[in-house]
């Protein structure tokens, strides 16, 4: 009798709510019942609200069961799990789940489908096809394709990727590098982690394409230490790729040499800033560098370096395989392609939603997210991490487009969307923005290092009702100084969330006055 294949994700969110225990119990129960099963630990589809999400393969279709607990496993078997039997947890075919079927899966097309450490499964799903095409068409054509696709940096700054690659390619040097920023520190974001845990060979392939295109022979991945599972999956994937001749000298007989070193960060948020990350990769404190010179010209160890975010790079293979125009057909205005949005915080259906730019926050939060987890009204939404503005309910119809967001004093950044219900105290959130900056500032420039500490103090005085008007003006002035005079986005953008609270949620700064009315 053929074994029935059952998928249980080996992914941080799934495991954090019991996927390992479910997998153990499935194996135990199957053995006890004499049922032949093959347990596959796949990557996650990113529908985190359904985790642990178990799938059973029947005649090529994958039938999903959501929020499975270890305790429910015997019940599931009795209900006929192995033949797709009915059960309250049964969701039907995975392809029919609207949360997934309504997405535009370009970068994450393989994520959830396969065992992320199976090179065979990767190859069966077009893995390394884009690299082979890269070897055929040559580096200039690859850079042209990336430029024409309109792909912009997904780490936050949204700089055109093709232009960055061309700068590195055009800079003469005896050594060049590809440095991947996997220091995904923004609260509300986890797309880099999902990609690494669910499709690590995709990152390897993307780095090889980048390296070949710009003439680099060495790559570094800077992965945050808060991601231990991503670390172990990635380390194993690198070993497997190396053993199979996809890393090292003369890759698959192409004459191209490239290898990758994995570096683990050490809990510093500012190391997500590219020059601080380069310092950290050199074994030093993660203190930001003055720019110029740009890392593309003088980057890691003073050599020309492509610094890209994980998701940026992972979007490239399909651009090469399917064509730049296919990618550019997604999106709006100058925001082309898809973005892996991440729905988080107080939301009913949190997870990863890869969707073409132009979707509104309301569609994301109401259609995909189905509103708040608490069932209370949405009061504020922070987009783009701790340096992103808090938006109000009335701004939710803004299309997700880099420029449209800039116009309203906000940013899309790495695509994190954190929802708050009406119990939130926004004065506390403004205070936290300054507090976080004080905690994480690298200390190189004064506006950020000192300004953030003064910011916490001023906000405390406003909350306490001490010389409120004067302190309010002082806070605005402090925000101006930090924004104008900080070296990097840490100090330069911490004012964004603070200003948005002053502008849209000022009533939270005046509880004493309100009470006195």
């Amino acid at each position: 009798m053929a074994k029935t294949r059952i998928y249980v994700p080996r992914e941080t969110a799934a495991i954090s709510v019991g996927a390992d225990e479910v997998a153990l119990e499935l194996a135990r129960e199957a053995k006890q019942r004499g049922a032949a099963i093959e347990l596959v630990r796949n990557g996650s589809w990113g529908a985190s609200w359904l985790e642990p999400l178990v799938e059973v393969e029947i005649d090529g279709a994958r039938i999903a069961y959501g929020n499975v607990t270890a305790e429910a496993v015997p019940d599931l078997f009795t209900a006929g799990l192995l033949t797709g039997g009915d059960h309250p947890a049964r969701l039907g075919p995975i392809t029919d789940i609207d949360y997934l079927s309504k997405q535009d899966r370009w970068t994450f097309f393989r994520c959830g489908l396969i065992d992320p450490l199976s090179l065979t499964a990767f190859r069966e799903r077009k893995g390394f096809a884009a690299l082979e095409r890269t070897f055929e068409i040559g580096s200039a054509a690859v850079i042209d394709a990336v430029t024409e696709s309109g792909l912009r940096g997904r780490g936050g700054a949204a700089f055109p990727t093709g232009i960055k690659w061309r700068t590195v390619a055009d800079t003469e040097a005896d050594q060049k590098y590809v440095a991947v920023n996997a220091d995904e520190g923004d609260s509300g974001t986890f797309s880099d982690r999902l990609l690494i845990e669910g499709d690590p060979f995709c990152l390897v392939e993307s780095m090889l394409i980048a390296g070949f295109a710009v003439g680099a022979t060495k790559g570094y991945i800077y992965l945050r230490s808060e991601y231990p599972l991503a670390r172990s999956i990635l380390a194993r994937a690198l070993d497997t790729a190396r053993d199979a001749g996809w890393l090292g000298p003369n890759i698959q007989g192409s004459g191209f040499d490239f290898d990758i070193e994995l570096h683990i960060g050490a809990g510093s948020y500012v190391c997500g800033e590219e020059t601080a990350m380069l310092e950290s990769l050199e074994g030093k404190p993660g203190i930001v560098r003055y720019r110029p010179p740009l890392p593309a010209i003088e980057g890691l160890f003073g050599k020309p370096t492509v610094v890209n975010n994980v998701v940026t790079l992972a979007s490239v293979p399909n651009v090469i395989a399917l064509g730049a125009e296919r990618y550019a057909a997604y999106g709006v205005n100058r925001s082309l392609g898809t973005l892996a949005f991440q729905l988080a915080g107080n939301v009913r259906r949190g997870g990863l939603v890869e969707k073409a730019f132009g979707i509104t926050l309301r569609e994301l939060i109401e259609d995909f997210g189905q509103g708040t987890a608490s069932g209370r009204p949405v009061r504020a939404v922070q987009v783009g991490g701790p340096l992103g503005a808090y938006l109000t309910e009335s701004q939710l119809d803004t299309p997700l487009d880099y420029e449209a967001f800039m116009e309203i004093g906000a940013m899309i950044g790495h695509g994190g969307v954190v929802v708050f219900d009406d119990t939130v105290n926004m004065a506390q959130q403004a205070r936290f923005a300054m507090e976080f900056c004080a905690l994480e500032s690298c200390g190189k420039c004064t506006p950020c290092r000192i300004g953030s500490t003064r910011g916490v103090e001023v906000i405390d005085r406003i909350i306490a009702g001490e010389n409120r008007d004067e302190n309010y003006d002082l806070l605005v002035e402090l925000c101006d100084t930090m924004e104008d005079a900080s070296l990097c986005a840490m100090g330069g953008m911490t004012p964004y969330p603070v200003r948005s609270v002053l502008k849209y949620f000022a009533e939270d700064f005046a509880p004493a006055r309100e009470a006195g009315k």
């Binding site: 948020y269 203190i287 915080g345 954190v418």
Partner: protein, 156 residues
């Protein structure tokens, strides 16, 4: 997570595993901390010697990064995410609950337990999140928190 006492020979072996390259300092510190639990003055002196760096340079890196400890942690390390997504799902109340039930303030340590903040575990769709002895947990209520800590204590 019982750690062994500092052992200069083992440390030397670990450093050699990274070819004693100074740019590997963070990676070496992680390895030392994994083995010995924290970074002692002896370790800093030895690192400076073997990587041909000044003690100030090594100390500068150890003190810059939140991950590196300069004193021994408790047997169990409990980290509670304090970032926005978890705040939106009640991490402030969860933190108060933890401090009250464990009898420990944030950043405080006993032989048994260390309680620390962490700023994002990347488990934001399952907020609030905590990490206990290196393992991430999501959708953590007060009751679930108590059970997770009890299970960790039971494990060793």
């Amino acid at each position: 997570m019982m750690k062994q006492a500092y052992d200069a020979k083992l440390a030397s072996h670990l450093i050699a595993g990274f070819d004693a390259r100074p740019e590997q300092l963070l990676q070496i510190l992680h390895a030392l901390q994994e083995h010995f639990g924290w970074i002692s003055d002896a370790a800093i002196r030895q690192l400076a010697d073997e990587l041909n760096l000044s003690r100030a340079e090594v100390h500068g890196v150890v003190s810059y990064y939140h991950d590196f400890r300069t004193s021994a942690p408790g047997r169990h390390v409990v980290k509670i995410c304090q970032a926005e997504s978890c705040q939106a799902m009640g991490s402030r109340a969860l933190t108060s609950h933890a401090e009250a039930t464990l009898g420990l303030a944030m950043h405080a340590s006993t032989d048994d337990l260390t309680l620390e903040p962490v700023y994002c575990l990347g488990n934001c769709a399952c907020s609030p999140a905590v990490m206990v002895d290196g393992k991430t947990f999501g959708r953590v209520t007060a009751e679930r928190f108590d059970a997770i800590v009890a299970a960790a204590r039971e494990a060793n």
